[in-house]
Amino acid sequence: MNRENIYFPHLAQITRILPQIEDHKLFGLTFVDKSMKDNFSYRPGQFVELSIIGTGEAPISISSSPTRPGTVELCVRRVGRVTNALYNLERDDLVGIRGPYGNGFPVEELEGNNLLLVAGGLGMAPLRSLLWYTLDNRERFEDVTLMYGAKIPDEMLFKYELLSLLDRPDLRCMLTVDKDEEGIWPAHIGVVTTLFDQIEIDPSTTYAAVCGPPVMYRFVLEELLKRNLSKDRILMSLERKMKCGVGKCGHCAIGYKYTCLDGPIFTYWDAINLPELI
């Protein structure tokens, strides 16, 4: 086989395991092959196929930013066969990585605009990549706002990292929880859409990047549309069963789009044309 075999994973070592919330850990992975380690690049919003040899592969969005090379971070929920097998591994163990796949966020197009990142629950996993990309290239963007809502404080991903951003002058970091029964939450309380009253959106210079559970999209989209944000300035990261990642196996096809090739970032306009999308 003289060309590159698109199905071969590249070996990567688990260099860090940071527990997040229950059944969610952030895995830091470093490619064993030095040139892979040095040259692996990606766009925020792309995903990789994670292989646990002998168990299988699963698509996982990248949570780290390409501005911080060397280690790829995947925030993985323990939920299926592959992720359970990953949770049985320890630091220094090897996994396989193929990718990066998917379109990712159109970061060049976003430059020079205001950015509104809206995340709900686990939707922060792919948006963290865009967040850090933006912060590390801060001069290329105008106002940057993050709205992130979790059910309760104990279910917020990257909680301490995000809380540490509350004081940052160049980011409007709005964190909220639906409920705070213990009375410990230092920020806003209420569902994520309740944050919209606190901000102004200039529809001609703003892009929104949204990721969250299906139920969240409806309400967030409503808020964005009410503020006249155009349908192709609303970007969403969507989940499907992206088995091969390269547009062959068919599992992630929606209408005339493959989530793995044409997505996982879709605009709201795409969603209108692909009724199954959200």
């Binding site: 199905y7 040899i53 002998g54 069963k241 599992h251 789009k257 090739l261 009724p275």
Partner: protein, 342 residues
């Protein structure tokens, strides 16, 4: 295009002389009306009256079960070597199936090229053969009743001879190998070919209109038809398996008994299977049969048009013949078009 003539009585001698080009495969009779492409020891085993094999030629290029790689601690990942380099001559491929292969070339090529598929494609010589449609064929409607490429040689019946179109340089080498068996074509042959062509065009019993089908399908996205079909469909996936252009696959890792080495396999899958769009965590994007069968029709007739400029259906009729629930694609498309006009 270079054309020569081969007398029918010389066909077997021609095929027998091709040993050095690869193993000969062709349609073989399995039962009264069942045929399958398989390796033959002698050209006489080939059933020349085969209109439709059970499985299309895709089985040679994307195998029902296929090793993607083996893995072991000692050797890491290794691409499978066997059966990627076996040379074969695939005889008796009808135009619809040649179009099917051309469509798979698009899918397995592109930005991410599947080298397993193309290794097998490179090693297969395709000898096409024309045919007369039966009541299930609608390749004329799908524009796949004729092909001008995708074959090394193509044989058209002109009575006591075949008119042989030479499609590739390799095809020419094959002709030259047994050149004594071939003759130049003459005026009678030209006339015979045109007669046959006209006769063939007039033999189609089924016609569907595909021109603006994507728009019609969008209009009927919420149609009751999909639920009605879902109620009939058994989710058996037979239509996917027999389809020349269905390429979906599932991936599984298989461990050896040492629990350290094994292989990653892919196997044919169907979007009609219940767990096709099931993701970890238990959410199924297409839990009901109606949504699955709708997805199948939309991908073939609508999605593929947007992606590659034509529907991926080649009109071979296999899905209609094979469906145990008697769902007919022709009926479905006709109904989609006429609904509301009854």
């Amino acid at each position: 295009m270079k054309m020569v003539k081969l007398q029918k009585k010389n066909l077997n001698a021609f095929l027998a002389g091709l040993e050095k080009f690869g193993d000969l495969h062709g349609p073989v009779r399995r039962d009264t009306n069942d045929f399958a492409f398989q390796k033959v020891d002698a050209p006489e085993q080939i059933a020349h009256d085969c209109l439709r094999t059970i499985l299309p030629p895709k089985k040679y290029f994307t195998k029902p079960v296929d090793t993607m790689f083996t893995f072991s601690e000692a050797e890491g990942y290794r691409a499978p070597d066997k059966d990627l380099h076996t040379k074969i001559i695939l005889f008796g491929v009808h135009p619809c199936d040649i179009h099917g292969i051309k469509i798979l070339d698009l899918v397995f090529g592109g930005q991410y090229r599947d080298e397993y598929y193309f290794a097998r494609r490179r090693n297969a010589i395709v000898v096409g053969l024309d045919c007369m449609p039966d009541e299930y064929c609608f390749c004329r409607s799908t524009g796949t009743d004729f092909t001008e490429d995708g074959f090394d040689l193509f044989l058209s019946d002109i009575g006591s001879s075949y008119l042989v179109r030479v499609g590739t340089s390799l095809g020419d080498d094959i002709v030259l190998e047994t050149s004594t068996l071939f003759q130049e074509i003459g005026d009678t042959d030209r006339r015979a070919y045109k007669r046959r062509s006209a006769q063939r065009i007039n033999s189609f019993e089924v016609e569907i209109h595909l021109e603006d089908l994507p728009e019609i399908m969008d209009l009927e996205y919420e149609s009751r038809i999909w639920q009605e079909l879902g109620d009939k469909c058994l989710s058996c996936g037979t239509c996917s398996m027999v389809c020349p252009t269905c390429y979906c696959y599932d991936v599984v890792d298989q461990l050896n008994l040492d629990a350290k080495s094994g292989s990653r396999l892919r196997r044919w899958d169907s979007c009609l299977f219940k767990d096709y769009a099931l993701v970890a965590g238990g959410h199924n994007f297409r839990a009901d049969r109606g949504s699955r069968i709708k997805n199948r029709y939309f991908h073939k007739q609508r999605g593929f048009v947007a992606q590659f400029g034509r529907p991926s259906c080649v009109g071979c009729g296999r899905c209609i013949v094979s469906c145990p629930a008697a769902i007919s694609l022709v009926d479905v498309l006709t109904k989609l078009r006429s609904r509301g006009n009854e």
